[in-house]
């Protein structure tokens, strides 16, 4: 998949915008850091999320990671497949392992997120 069109956050989520619907997942770098994903606690449908609010949790054997909403909006879809196959987040972080979709309150918000290049240089300098 062409990840160059995606937008990223400093908390390692990616966002793919189509109209006013944002699909959200975590980066390849993040899934490697988390290691084996064993459980995904998805957000409730229709939940309103504020940008940078914790939307859901990804669990590995020895850790739990908050996943933050990259933009304001309402949850309109969650990846039900992850309930039985959480390993999809590891195997296919950008496609089958997507997490949830938000109907954006303000689609323009995504513009201010990181580009792939900016994210790559961010993660090479940042501490986790």
């Amino acid at each position: 998949m062409d990840t160059s069109k995606l937008k990223y956050t400093e908390t390692h989520e990616w966002v793919s915008l189509s109209g006013n619907v944002a699909t959200i997942g975590i980066s390849d770098h993040a899934q490697k850091e988390i290691s084996d994903v064993v459980f995904v606690e998805l957000p409730a449908m229709s939940r309103s999320l504020k940008q940078k609010e914790s939307a859901m949790v990804i669990e590995s054997v020895k850790a739990a990671f908050d996943i933050y909403a990259p933009v304001n909006g309402k949850v309109i879809a969650v990846n039900e497949k992850l309930k039985n196959k959480p390993e999809l987040v590891n195997q296919s972080p950008y496609q089958d392992g997507w997490l949830f979709k938000i109907e954006c309150s303000n689609p323009g918000e995504a513009d201010s997120l990181l580009t792939e290049d900016a994210y790559n240089s961010f993660k090479s300098t940042a501490h986790h």
């Binding site: 084996d36 459980f39 669990e59 390993e87």
Partner: protein, 480 residues
């Protein structure tokens, strides 16, 4: 050999129970049919001998203090005298009911009262409650007292401060009590960073939760200043007693400025860990907080031991009855057996053993913080990791040599942390053996790392698939 007891079958008539005097039908007439069980519980069905063999064989798959050196940091895996088990099991104590008239249970009440008094003396506090069943239960008790104190003084407080090296129960308890958690950094010497504390402290701070020695095994030299700062905003200082084994008779949390302490009787005061519990987590407080302690406390009136009758400011009850009496009595007897000199010797040898091991291991492992340690120390397997072998691998390889692993990956602020607590009851010879084994493992890391990476080789099972356990939870047997 790992057959479940459910997978074995032999004859079980429960012959140890007396016979019924009436027929089942006659007895069942006392109960409405609608309240009865419709299908039987699928319990195991095996003979007494098979029960004996099953659990005996299970026990042999455990490492334990009775069979191995167990230098598990922060857990104080010391030898606990067997006479204490016998005392706790005596009919006079194990066969006494908590609802007996206090007149008929004066022995039990005396033990509770005197334990409250002994712990107050040892920690420098005014009064103790023995209700909390464990350390985390003690923390809950402590923070509820903090809340009650500030409500009583009509002060609104919203934050609890903890060091970044704290045990996970500290923030979990603070959250349970409705506080926001504020973390304070550790400085380069391994102490609470005073600058960060000063920057973050304000009127909203209800409490600072701290262990001393810290989870790095170091004495907080600035403890009096830390306490002064917290008190200056009318916050209370809470002592997490996980590391009390270092202090007995040498210094007291009460004198350091702590307002509330919890003590883990299962660490310092000889209650065996019992495969994970029960422990006991008594809480002591300074004078102005006594009225908030859980009710009822045991008091002495003349020569009689009684339950406190009224406690209008008490935070309430934390559990049924009066605490884990069977654990408390062990600690009582332990303190009585050791006396002052015995307790002083405990901490002296705990500290001596830890410093000796640290000295012996400092060439092998990176020691992130300088200076003498208290009863335990933290080393880092960073150098070993550079060669592809992590703390986890070394921990597993130690098992092959019949030594339990140190605590690993805690505290979180040290990379590849290995936390070693030898305790006072181990001999120099045992410590020397431990050093030799770590040297041998080091050689393997240099020459044959795969052997360490594949460890353990001699335990009943090799490395366990934890990912599968969590992805496909199998948490109970289901009868076919």
């Amino acid at each position: 050999m790992s057959d479940l007891i459910f997978e074995k079958t032999s004859r079980n008539d429960a012959g140890w129970l007396p016979a019924l005097s009436h027929s089942e039908e006659e007895i069942l007439k006392f109960l409405p049919a609608s309240a009865l069980r419709r299908s039987e519980a699928h319990l195991p069905s095996v003979s007494e001998l098979d029960v004996v063999r099953h659990f005996t064989n299970l026990s042999r798959k455990n490492f334990s203090v009775d069979s191995q050196f167990y230098p598990l940091g922060s857990c104080t895996m010391k030898y606990n005298p067997k006479v204490l088990d016998a005392i706790a099991a005596a009919d006079a104590f194990s066969q006494t009911h908590p609802y007996q008239d206090p007149q008929d249970a004066q022995g039990a009440l005396r033990i509770l009262f005197e334990t409250q008094t002994l712990l107050s003396e040892i920690t420098g506090m005014e009064e103790f409650t023995l209700q909390p069943a464990a350390g985390a239960h003690g923390e809950l008790c402590g923070l509820l007292i903090v809340g009650a104190y500030h409500r009583y003084k009509k002060e609104k407080k919203t934050k609890v401060m903890i060091p970044d090296s704290a045990h996970g129960t500290n923030p979990a308890t603070a959250a349970l009590c409705g506080y926001e958690v504020v973390q304070v950094k550790t400085d380069a010497r391994g102490h609470v960073e005073l600058r960060d504390l000063k920057a973050k402290i304000d009127k909203e701070v209800a409490c600072f939760m701290l262990t001393n020695p810290s989870t790095l095994g170091l004495f907080e030299e600035e403890i009096l200043e830390v306490a002064r700062l917290v008190h200056s905003v009318d916050g209370l200082v809470y002592y997490d007693g996980a590391n009390m084994n270092a202090l007995l008779g040498h210094c007291r949390p009460g004198d350091m400025g702590f307002d509330i302490v919890h003590i883990n009787l299962h660490k310092t005061f000889a209650v065996p860990h019992g495969s994970g519990g029960p422990g006991s987590g008594p809480v002591g407080v300074k004078k102005e907080l006594v009225k908030f302690l859980p009710a009822p406390r045991v008091l002495k009136e003349g020569s009689q031991f009684i339950y406190e009758k009224e406690a209008p400011y008490s935070i309430g009850k934390l559990r049924s009855f009066y605490g884990n009496f069977g654990a408390i009595i062990r600690s009582y007897a332990y303190i009585r057996a050791l006396g002052r000199e015995g307790l002083e010797a405990v901490s002296e040898h705990a500290i001596l053993n830890a410093n000796y091991l640290k000295t012996k291991l400092k060439d092998l492992y990176e020691i992130p913080f300088d200076g003498y340690c208290m009863h335990e120390f933290v080393m880092s397997a960073k150098r070993q990791k550079a060669k592809g072998v992590k703390a986890l691998d070394i921990a597993k390889r130690l098992l092959d040599f019949g030594i339990h692993a140190p605590t690993i990956y805690f505290p979180l602020i040290v990379e590849e942390a290995m936390m070693v607590e030898p305790t006072e009851t181990e001999s120099k010879a045992t410590l020397d053996e431990f050093v030799k084994v770590l040297q041998e493992i080091q050689k393997e890391i240099e020459t044959n790392p795969q052997k360490v990476l594949d460890a353990p080789h001699t335990t009943p099972v090799s490395r366990i698939d934890e990912v599968r356990a969590a992805r496909e939870p199998n948490l109970r047997y289901r009868a076919k």
